[in-house]
């Protein structure tokens, strides 16, 4: 963008504004780092000479079964992602390349799920889960999210851009429907899978309400729910320890984001434009 405005004066004012907003936006995280790496007596006093410590992390790690929560969240996001890839790929392929009666009605119904997210139906889905014995299981947390309208839509858009000549050629070569899907469509849609995968993983890593409703034991609770219990004022833990626990919980995603910042931003952008 070329510089337009009343000279460099206005320009520098805007630059300062942009940086100031950036600092405000980072303030919660900066504070969390301050408090987590300093002894509790400095958590509300800001002194550049305050001694650094890792003690808070050790205490937080001991106070709550974070290792187990990490494992649960890891299993959860992996399970959801794999199921979403399979279900959404098949459905998207059907919508992109097949003609069947009721197709457009079915597609409208799929899109409806973009509005009626599983969060809205916690009451009834809880009852369903208790009927099929999935309350307090990791599968129970994942089930409502596995057929994702967003994923189906995204992959359908991508599949539609793939020239039909390619699968005609493949079927002349004697490929079955599944072979065409696996050897032609899936490899060509790789960027979409990466983008959707990143959005899905960060969404489910952070998801809270439904996991809170459906889990009630350490063996199934994901990080977010574990953190909410850990940080509850009733638990009487002090700030430095809560912030240390909070940083532990967000660390994997935060580190991944800092390392692959470009990829993250582009994935969210890509997923949004489609």
């Amino acid at each position: 963008m070329t510089v337009i405005g009343k000279g460099s004066w206005a320009q520098s004012l805007e630059t300062i504004g942009a940086w100031l907003l950036a600092i405000i936006w980072m303030l919660p995280l900066i504070y969390a780092f301050w408090s987590a790496f300093h002894p509790p007596e400095y958590s509300t006093r800001f002194d550049l000479l305050a001694p650094l410590t890792l003690e808070n992390f050790a205490v937080a790690w001991d106070r709550a079964p974070f290792a187990r929560y990490f494992l649960n969240t890891f299993i959860l996001v992996t399970m959801i992602l794999l199921a979403q890839f399979v279900l959404c790929t098949l459905a998207a392929f059907a919508f992109a390349r097949f003609d069947f009666p009721g197709k457009s009605v079915a597609f409208v119904f799929v899109l409806l799920q973009l509005m009626i997210m599983p969060e809205v139906l916690i009451v009834e889905n809880y009852i369903t889960m208790s009927k099929i014995g999935a309350v307090d299981t990791i599968a129970g947390i994942g089930l409502p999210y596995m057929a994702s309208a967003f994923g189906i839509f995204l992959l359908r858009q991508t599949f539609k851009t793939i020239p039909k000549e390619l699968d005609d050629a493949a079927s002349v070569e004697g490929c079955s429907v599944f072979q065409i899907l696996w050897k032609v469509y899936v490899p060509l849609a790789r960027p979409t899978y990466v983008a959707y995968g990143l959005v899905s993983v960060s969404h489910h890593w952070n998801n809270f309400l439904w996991p809170l409703v459906i889990t009630n034991s350490v063996e199934t609770r994901p990080l977010t729910v574990g953190l909410a219990i850990f940080g509850a004022p009733e638990s009487g833990v002090d700030w430095s320890i809560i912030t240390a626990g909070t940083l532990l919980a967000v660390a994997p995603l935060l580190v991944a984001f800092l390392l692959f910042q470009r990829q993250f931003v582009q994935s969210f952008m890509y997923a949004g434009i489609k």
Binding site: A18, Q113, I116, V123, W205, L209, L254, F257, F268
Partner: protein, 291 residues
């Protein structure tokens, strides 16, 4: 491939996803609607058809009206500000700025952090006396204030957290849109002597309209969906001053264990979302004119 085989294949491919969608979205939505016409069954008195009694109860429920009002304020407070900030951020990060990618990263970071985790940190900001907000206001000579304990300020606090969380996410969509605008447009405006504000108002903002509509829909849905922070910050209090519809549904269903009434409240939420769906349909129609 002959016609009937492709038809069968199509349905078979769709089947697995369809089963999941029906089981966890359409079936529960329909059952919820049905249950809203039945009373809550107990061990002694089984659930029975009560017609509109649950809805009658809802209309007489002061908490329900308070929650609806809160949700409207929440939406009206978060949506315009987070969209305005998102545009501002995108314009800044898209322009000539030193430390551009670092700034962009700062704006975007709240998006990838779990709401539940950041609420822990915001809770500290709002704490009376020792919290950051009070420490800052003391510097300017103001007294201490119980931000989350005062019914007049609590909703504003919740709104601030949500704006902070959302704006960077919306920025991404504007950034994507800005990158598609031809640079000649701005050069031409500059040559014509148009001010930067004039260019934004008359050229850039209208061209960003499709993005704004898309973001608007997302923001409206979020205003019904984003309630995680309440669990940490206020639990809907004090005296329901910060409770939102989805949080109230959660409370009624899982704390008061009244599923019939929770279903009735869910129906209201579903109707609201249906309105948004219809609205989106018409807005998307409009969108075509700009493309």
């Amino acid at each position: 491939m002959n016609i009937s085989r492709t038809q069968v294949h199509g349905w078979l491919l769709l089947m697995p996803a369809a089963i999941f969608l029906i089981a966890f979205t359409y079936y529960p939505a329909v059952v919820t609607l049905g249950k809203s016409f039945f009373s809550q069954g107990t061990a002694l008195r089984p659930s029975e058809f009560v017609g509109l009694e649950n809805f009658q109860y809802m209309f007489d429920d002061d908490v329900f009206w308070q929650v609806v009002r809160n949700n409207v304020i929440y939406a009206a407070g978060t949506i315009p500000i987070s969209i305005a900030l998102a545009i501002l951020m995108a314009v800044w990060v898209n322009g000539k700025l030193r430390f551009k990618s670092l700034t962009r990263m700062c704006y975007f970071t709240p998006t990838i952090l779990p709401m539940i985790a950041v609420a822990n940190i915001w809770l500290f900001f709002y704490t009376p006396e020792i919290g950051l907000l009070d420490q800052v206001s003391r510097v300017f000579g103001f007294g201490s204030h119980n931000w989350l304990g005062d019914p007049d300020t609590v909703l504003g606090c919740i709104i601030a957290v949500t704006i902070w969380k959302e704006a960077g996410f919306f920025m991404i969509f504007y950034l994507a849109a800005l990158q598609t605008l031809p640079p000649e447009l701005e050069e031409a405006a500059h040559l014509e002597g148009a001010s930067r504000w004039y260019y934004f108002r008359r050229v850039m903002f209208p061209l960003l309209m499709p993005t704004t509509l898309f973001v608007l829909i997302n923001a409206i849905i979020n205003s019904f969906k984003l309630v995680d922070q309440l669990f940490i910050l206020t639990k809907g209090g004090p005296d329901n001053a910060s409770s939102l519809l989805l949080y109230y549904i959660y409370e009624v269903a899982f704390s008061f264990l009244d599923q019939a009434y929770a279903s009735t409240l869910t129906v209201v939420l579903l109707i609201a979302l249906a309105f948004i769906a219809v609205g989106q349909f018409f807005l998307l129609d409009k969108k075509v004119h700009y493309r």
